[in-house]
Symmetry: C2
Subunit: 416 residues, 2 copies
Amino acid sequence: MVDAALKDGTADRRCVFEVFARRLPDGRRYGVAAGLGRFLTALTEFRFGDEEIGFLRDRDVIDEGTARWLADYRFTGDVRAYREGEVFFPESPVLQVEGTFAESVVLETLALSTFNADSAIAGAAARMVSAADGRPLAEMGSRRTGEWNAVAAARAAYIAGFGATSNLEAGRTWGIPTMGTAAHAFTLLHDSEEAAFRSQLDALGDGTTLLVDTYDIEAAVETAVRLTNGRLGAVRIDSGDLPSVVAAVRAQLDRLGAPATKITVTNDLDEYTIAALRAAPVDSYGVGTSVVSGSGHPAAGMVFKLVAHQTPAGDEWVPVAKKSADKVSTGGRKEAGRRLRNGIATAEVVLTSGRVGPDERPLLVPVVEHGEVDPAFLGVAGVEAARAHHKRAKAELPVDASRIGRGDPAIPTLVI
Amino acid sequence: MVDAALKDGTADRRCVFEVFARRLPDGRRYGVAAGLGRFLTALTEFRFGDEEIGFLRDRDVIDEGTARWLADYRFTGDVRAYREGEVFFPESPVLQVEGTFAESVVLETLALSTFNADSAIAGAAARMVSAADGRPLAEMGSRRTGEWNAVAAARAAYIAGFGATSNLEAGRTWGIPTMGTAAHAFTLLHDSEEAAFRSQLDALGDGTTLLVDTYDIEAAVETAVRLTNGRLGAVRIDSGDLPSVVAAVRAQLDRLGAPATKITVTNDLDEYTIAALRAAPVDSYGVGTSVVSGSGHPAAGMVFKLVAHQTPAGDEWVPVAKKSADKVSTGGRKEAGRRLRNGIATAEVVLTSGRVGPDERPLLVPVVEHGEVDPAFLGVAGVEAARAHHKRAKAELPVDASRIGRGDPAIPTLVI
């Protein structure tokens, strides 16, 4: 596309592209926009090196003119976006890129990869946070997704309200609190469960969490309490029918004089099994596969669409939209606001003309101006701001939005 | 775990860890092992740098002794594995790592991330290849998964029989054939569909593929044929009820004198919709979301388990296994063979002692010896070998294994 557009002169037409989802995953009541900080970080480094350009030339994907254009590539346009952590609905323009056709269109894959992957995880994580009803959640799914996705997943889950991750690289890169656990392998390695527990307590102190389900849970809990004189930090349970097992372990801990010892559970949890444990004396949850894979919806369904371009003379915007059978879009650059009544959201307002009204919280904020990324959205500070913003945005939703069962979007989208 | 094991002296116990799936995704008849080449590539570079170690020390995750151990880390053990592209079944030991406890246990996340992600994609892709019944498939899902997963996804799909990818980085890194398409944005950018088509034909020649569903498909096909005097390479359709639309477009192309112009379709395809197009005159498929997300099963469910360790004296192997309620494993180092009758697989044989029999194809091959990775499994050559091996292994399965409907594993696993 860039090759042809450079040749025919349309490459420099100023364009607006928008990222949005036509619908939410089946039954979900809201989405959570995540990935912005990663997209912007990547944008600051988005260049084409000699090796990449050489490959494209060797394969005859591009001609010499396009090769020169790529070598000089640097995004010079403007980007507005929903704040990271913001909730979104069908048609919400979560990202809006304005620049020349060529400089903007090459960002499609980067924008959608980061937004689709991270928003899928954040959307699932937010539901788990609701289901956990105030109890802390740790993201432990690195082994269930690609090795780099794992780092992004920890970040997205944290933005949506998880308290920690087992992914140490996410701690190093994004400042996310980290935690660790012992695996069954550690117990199996030792000549007895007691030897394994002693070793872990010697290394990490009585405040550690001991994994008690390698052999017999009741015997393991007895050993764990005895070795710590009841001062053990926590036990972890990773198998069995959790509601009944957790109740039995709690009773045993209390009986043995360890009422302060906490119980953490980690057995293939998702928002439904977390909710089913509300009445159980669980103190915290570790969640793996379901959160890193978006709990059944591993991509957020966002698309990157041209919505307007300037006339050849550059004096007017032309709204454009595909007109095919099953994928109708709305042309033109959007404004977006969340309509609130007494602080509670009543509608997502997407405007094709005019401005956001006085009862509507504006949703699009500038994040890149003339190619310069606003550093407030990057790094550790960006993650913390996103997490705080998510909490505020979620609090504005009608209370029913947090129910775990399937439903329609919590508020309607009004495209005006 | 490493910290505690270094302190208590068990870190140097020689161990065997195995990667396997307890079950296949619901209804799947076989799995496809992928990720080995990426795992081995990462293993050759698996080191802990000053920044990483500094972070772990600052956060008090490890002590000074463990920091020194990590700084010197280099895997010195042995690895055997199912060849990349091999099919697998429940309990198949697809990866077997032998080394000290500490040097092996730190590989868990790397091994599982690569194997779970890549095998999920390869398993889904293999079903789509069967459904396409000889017609070529292109992987086009980069925008529906994390930006680095996208490269791995293209690789895994190619190993399972896809013919090409739209991910250029996968072409550059792994030698996978690449292809591209024009987006609706390219047509919308131009002042008319005809202008967009002319531009693309000028840049890429009549052999290109024109996207014909931005406005009215019939009008677009007429324009496309007229501009190329019937010599157009192909048209792409990305919306609508594909069986009927494809039939109409084929009839129109033939009527307009373009019988050699091919039809490629790309509208949210998965193995079921591909199979539903068997009777339609489709020439090739482009598949996105469903292949990169494992078509409903984004992680292959593999685990990394300690199955044996040496006695403290180092003179004997002790088989070990967790004994908890719902996650039973089999201890001891495994051998594995595929039992064949007249060239067709009849059972997956997993042995806890003894050797693979004469009617069984041995499945575990050495890939790392004393820390040295066999280069045959790396890079472009490794990918091509994996693709070729997959084709052979799939051809051994009973013919019924390729049916798209749900079923049990195509052959039983005999753990002996």
